[in-house]
């Protein structure tokens, strides 16, 4: 269970730092194109979090049983 939780922690840290970095990129960049790139990635990452929770975690849990 510890393994399980630490993988979750690592994954969440990665995603959250990425979101923070992209938000800064979005706020500070002067070019429209960089804003578009960062918004797209932020939305993607948010959905990725939900997806991992519903899908991958479920599958992993199933296979571990």
């Amino acid at each position: 269970m510890i393994e399980y939780f630490s993988a979750f922690e690592t994954g969440m840290t990665m995603t959250i730092t990425s979101i923070v970095a992209l938000t800064i990129l979005y706020l500070t960049s002067s070019a429209e194109i960089l804003k578009v790139i960062s918004v797209t990635l932020i939305v993607g990452l948010l959905f990725d979090m939900v997806n991992t929770w519903i899908q991958n975690a479920g599958i992993l849990r199933y296979s571990l049983k």
Partner: protein, 499 residues
């Protein structure tokens, strides 16, 4: 601290950082223009202006930016004074200065087309060519563009996934549309009398005059008004080889004279199209003369336009004559005129944003681990990665465009992710009481798996779409490689020692 800096991995990182800074060689306070590419036989060359001199003023007007250049009021044929870092020169202004100017570089980083503007031409050979034949064609195109005076260009071949060959030419700088004609023409030049070829472009031409004395617009009656505006004639002298002159002699000997001219004309063909037909005066009958004057013209709404067009046509013709014809025919597959709408400042502001984002990451990491001993190394590693990627790019003269900037973001992004994996493995290791070596081995196993997946997924991009996404693929691959082999081991060392 001493232990960290003196470790092999840190020394490697510091070494690469220093090398990168040398390669980039930043000069943040540079302004103005430097001279490059002085045209052969131009008034500027005769005056002794040489490449690399810094331009200070023209006609006593200080030149610091392109606005200063635009504000200059110089007329065709005027004598102007040019002051450079080396000397004062007086030159004749003749359509242009006879040299090109380049903005003083603030670093060795080459910015891509979408930042500085320019044109990208994709050419496709009409028949399938072998690698060698493609290279021959590339060489000739490059020669042609160099003769024309285009210097900021990259030219390469590329294959798409079906194996079709393309030739991609990228030329930086605005208003380079006139090169289109130059790269798409096969450029077979033939001078014929009747049906007999006297000389052809390239091999039969010894030299083509491009200086004011024997090329340009005739001083008398050079330009005249027409129904639609103005027309200007141009002329230039070519010297042909003795063999071609011999041929000219033997052909003209057989011709008869009417009204002071020979009964057949010298017809000039470019790609089987008649471009002009010259009368041959009777005293040239049987002549083995090696000099010819070739004439052309150009039109325009105003006289100045007509002069410019006429001189451009002349320059194009001269270029085709000097370089000869392409060994294989090509057709223009696509032309992208890329405006510099992003602007050159885009690059520095993008890099600044990336660095700010790294600070943000350090902040987020601090919140997670509650320790500067993790966030500071993450910051150092991220910024080092950016610097080393830029250093590598300036070393191999890679054009950094928007795709490349995206590549830097991707590389630094995966870098941060890997660092978090390393940190977590280290933290977990402390709880589980394993050795450093075991923890690191585990972390790097994850990192290498991710690394090879990344490389494999980037490779198709290298070939896709005739390599337009190459910039992204290359920077990502280089960035991630630098990360895995240089910065991340150093990061692991910092974490290991600080903990």
């Amino acid at each position: 601290m001493k232990k960290i800096i003196l470790s092999g991995r840190m020394i490697l990182l510091i070494f690469f950082l220093i090398m990168s800074l040398v390669a980039i060689s930043p000069k943040p306070f540079a302004e103005g223009f430097v001279i490059y590419n002085v045209e052969k036989n131009s008034s500027a060359e005769f005056a002794g202006i040489s490449v690399g001199e810094k331009l200070i003023s023209i006609n006593e007007n200080l030149i610091l930016n392109s606005e200063d250049l635009n504000n200059l009021d110089i007329n065709y044929g005027e004598i102007i004074t040019i002051k450079t870092s080396e000397n004062n020169y007086k030159i004749l202004y003749y359509e242009d200065f006879g040299f090109e100017l380049r903005e003083q570089k603030t670093s060795n980083i080459q910015k891509g087309l979408d930042l500085v503007g320019g044109v990208r031409v994709v050419l496709k050979p009409t028949v399938d060519l072998s690698e060698e034949q493609i290279i021959d064609t590339l060489d000739l195109l490059e020669k042609r563009l160099n003769v024309f005076g285009v210097s900021d260009l990259t030219i390469r071949n590329s294959q798409d996934l079906e194996g079709t060959n393309y030739i991609i030419i990228e030329i930086a700088g605005a208003n380079k549309e006139d090169v289109l004609n130059l790269v798409s023409k096969k450029g077979v030049f033939e001078a014929k009398i009747g049906n007999e070829v006297v000389f052809t472009g390239g091999k039969d031409i010894k030299s083509v005059c491009r200086s004011v004395e024997c090329a340009g617009i005739p001083a008398q009656n050079g330009c005249y008004p027409t129904e639609n505006g103005y027309q200007c004639r141009n002329f230039f002298r070519v010297d042909i080889t003795p063999e071609a002159a011999e041929l000219h002699g033997s052909i003209t000997e057989k011709l008869t004279v009417t009204n002071g001219y020979l009964d057949k004309k010298l017809d000039l063909f470019l790609d089987n199209e008649l471009i002009s037909s010259l009368f041959i005066s009777e005293n040239l009958k049987g002549s083995r003369s090696t000099s010819f004057t070739i004439q052309g013209s150009g039109e325009g709404v105003t006289e100045q336009d007509a002069i410019t067009n006429s001189l451009n046509n002349m320059k194009e013709m001269q270029t085709l004559l000097i370089s000869g014809s392409l060994p294989y025919e090509v057709e223009v597959e696509r032309v992208d005129l890329i405006s510099a709408e992003l602007g050159e400042s885009f690059f520095s502001s993008a890099i600044l944003s990336i660095i700010l984002a790294i600070f943000g990451v350090a902040g987020a990491v601090f919140v997670r681990y509650r320790s500067w001993k993790v966030s500071v190394p993450i910051m150092i590693t991220g910024i080092s990665e950016v610097i080393i990627i830029l250093g590598f790019a300036s070393l191999i003269r890679w054009n950094l465009d928007l795709a490349a900037i995206a590549g830097i973001v991707a590389a630094v992004g995966t870098g941060v992710d890997d660092q978090i994996v390393i940190t977590d493995e280290v933290m977990k290791g402390i709880k589980l009481d394993t050795t450093w070596r075991q923890r690191m081995a585990k972390a790097f196993a994850i990192i290498f798996a991710a690394y090879f997946t990344m490389i494999v997924s980037m490779l198709p991009l290298w070939f896709l779409g005739a390599g337009v996404l190459r910039g992204f693929a290359l920077t990502t691959i280089v960035g991630v490689t630098i990360g895995v082999f240089i910065t991340r081991p150093a990061f692991a060392k910092m974490i290991e020692t600080l903990k």
